[in-house]
Amino acid sequence: MQYKKKIMENLYKVSSPERYIGNEWNTINKKWQADKMKIALAFPDVYEIGMSHLGLKILYHLINKEENMLAERVYAPWQDMEDLMRKKEIPLYTLESYHEIKDFDILAFTLQYEMSYSNILNMLDLSGMNIYSEKRSEKDPLVIAGGATVFNPEPIADFIDLFFIGEAESFIITLFNKYQQLKNQDLPKKEILFELSKVDGVYVPSLYSESYADKGEIAALHVQAGVKAKSKKQLVQNLDQAFYPTDFIVPYRDTVHERVVLEISRGCTRSCRFCAAGMTYRPSRERSIDRLMEIAEKALKSTGYDEISLTSLSAMDYTKIEELLKRMTAKFSQHKISISLSSLRVDEFSVELANEVQKVRKTGLTFAPEAGTQRLRDVINKNINEEDLYKAARSAFENGWSRIKLYFMIGLPTETMDDLAGIVELAKKVRDIGKEVRKKSKKRMRNIQISVSVSTFVPKTFTPFQWVKMDDIETIIKKHDYLRDNLRGHGLSFSWNDPELSRLEGVIARGDRRLSKVIASAWEKGSRFEGWNECFEARIWGEAFRENQIDPAEYLRERKTSEIFSWDKIDIGVSKEFLLKEYKKSQAGDLTADCRFEECTSCAICANFGVDLELVGGQK
């Protein structure tokens, strides 16, 4: 059913109604026909967050290219809209045709952060479906999910029929076609899922189970007869040949990325030991400059945007970044198009490049030293030193930036109070450099402002730190207090994350299937949008854990290296041996080099996928 009139009549009652109307430029509104497979692409957060996500943009256009399919978008309604929808009996609907979700064959969620899981349940419920897979009917759409946090699917295993592991654009069309074939044979959902589980990269949780030992340990992983034990991540071998859209949808509302998003490379091999993306998105692959120029030109023309953003896990590591920027500015600056870089490495070179392209708006610059002392940076394999930071900061101030944000983590393995003192010292030194530059500067400069932003380290699956203990709440608070007391004074500010929220993220990140019921309880009690600080209620989650007799601390403890992990059934291509070796090296403070620039670190990814590194500048 379609509910357009009812929606239009009532939207004036909610905040930001433009979130719920669609009809943006470049929207694809395919004819609603019986013989088309209909896919609702869902992002479990509000519109403006979801609209900034590149993965869904790629899938939206990729699926709509297929003649026998149509894809439409749906986002999580904010709480006022949820209330309105429940009151007026408007089910969750897509922005293209205003069809309710139940009219679709497939509901596909993208998983970007653990703190959006309760929104998934809410969206299922608003669609009029049961949140539990096993209780949904044969007629309900198949509920599938993939994305950044899919590498540990277990906490939401009870709600999702099928997970796809890895880069969906490499195999999702094949998967959907296979689904259509099976559906045409009128097979029951159970059999369809069994058949689909044979497709590479597919994980059907109902065919697997876990048994548990004491203290949160896993005794064994079980799998039904005839089903593969491990699901292997799928990926795009070559970015130049991979599909990339140029006719991006242009939102009306301000969103996080109102610009042409140009993915210059995928994967990062810096081997920062806390970073999940650095492991799960391997290998490193780069798009050629020619292809990037072609995409940029078409996308600018199609959207009317006046900005290009080069995105990557580490944009500065693109092997021909200077040449790329030179060609982009030469071609586009005459049309008043600005170019921005998604992330800056902490060094002088990066700042100077950023200065070249970002001639406008010198608002703020972010550096991420991650840890306060060289010792701890070596532990996490963050390969920068203090001199780099000071030089980068000086260069930034000299080029006219006056506000610098320094990003750190607290709670990293082996951290002591000395490392926190190191954060304070670095911040003050950077401020003093700024003041010195400002004093000498002939140009007028705004007051120097150094904001120190600290998040709590959360051990993530498939990283060398997947075995370590997360800080307990008292320790986190003590560390926050220390930093707050010591980062006072002129030109300094300090911000931090809610420690309860970080702990919850920690529980779910390394969680297992027992958490499904906890998430369900929290949702029933009204928890939504945990990723938004103002919406998170620690009390609700505390109750949810207690009711289900789950001790969250068991998920945050140190793991033995011999332990079975719930996520051992997923194969990301990087070997567990490599992660363990990195874990041991971290304890000794030994560094690991980047295989793009030095020798191979034997992470096993290339051998596992039969690929070589695809670098436009060649391997150094």
Binding site: M8, L11, Y12, I21, T27, V250
Partner: protein, 233 residues
């Protein structure tokens, strides 16, 4: 060359804000590759200037903006180009060349005309409706509380803000009200004021309100902002 351009914003885009319309128009101009003039400074923007804001939730048949181009274009070609790159329900209707340094839209446009369809719990005859409106308009003042986003509520007098009102056919009332820098009046407030006096009037629905457009009041008549008397040099 400067142009004064009329456009309409219809149902599918009724919830787009004034600023979003402005942003969208700039993007349309880029997509159409029109020879737009840019503002100076560090953050150059395509030079357009809008008429008084159209509130979120309203449909309008006649809004305006001024655009500066570096080259001269035939008006009909300009309109065609804009429409080709415009989302559904944002339509460009007419462009008129205007001299430089004439009065801006925001200082000229002072009137909004609305046609509102009223639903009644019990159907009224045309005569009855006329009588209700007449009584309403004869009140000395029509005080109502205005709710303001992020500001405290304020009491305002609607009477001063209504230039004229008539029942044009059964269920269809037309109001000419002040808009722009001299104050404004929201159709929802009219509805509330009427409902307070005549409870059988049903609750406001934005789909029942049409803004016929914004105009320039001159004596007792209302003109479009590119009428000869406003753009003649």
């Amino acid at each position: 060359m400067n142009y004064r351009i009329k456009f309409e914003k219809l149902e599918d885009l009724m919830y787009i804000s004034h600023l979003q319309v402005m942003k969208t128009i700039r993007r349309i101009i880029r997509r159409a590759e029109l020879p737009a003039a840019f503002s100076q400074g560090f953050n150059p923007h395509i030079k357009i200037s809008m008429g008084p804001p159209l509130a979120v939730g309203l449909i309008s048949y006649g809004e305006y903006f001024d655009l500066e181009l570096k080259e001269e274009l035939v008006e009909s070609e300009l309109i065609k180009a804009l429409n080709q790159f415009s989302p559904k329900d944002l339509n460009f209707i007419k462009a008129v060349k205007i001299p430089e340094n004439i009065r801006s839209l925001s200082s000229l446009l002072d009137t909004a005309i609305y046609t509102i369809e009223f639903d009644f719990e019990r159907k009224k005859s045309w005569e009855e409706e006329k009588e209700i409106l007449q009584n309403f308009m004869q009140e000395e003042s029509i005080m109502i509380i205005r709710h303001r986003r992020k500001k405290s509520d304020r009491e305002i007098d609607l009477k001063k803000r209504i230039f004229s009102a008539e029942v044009i056919e059964e269920n269809k009332w037309r109001f000419a009200v002040v808009t722009g820098s001299r104050g404004n009046l929201r159709p929802e407030e009219l509805n509330r004021a009427l409902k307070a006096r005549y409870p059988e009037i049903k609750e406001f629905s934005p789909l029942n309100v049409l803004r016929e457009g914004v105009f320039v009041k001159d004596e007792d008549d209302f003109y479009p902002p590119y009428a000869e008397k406003f753009i003649g040099s």
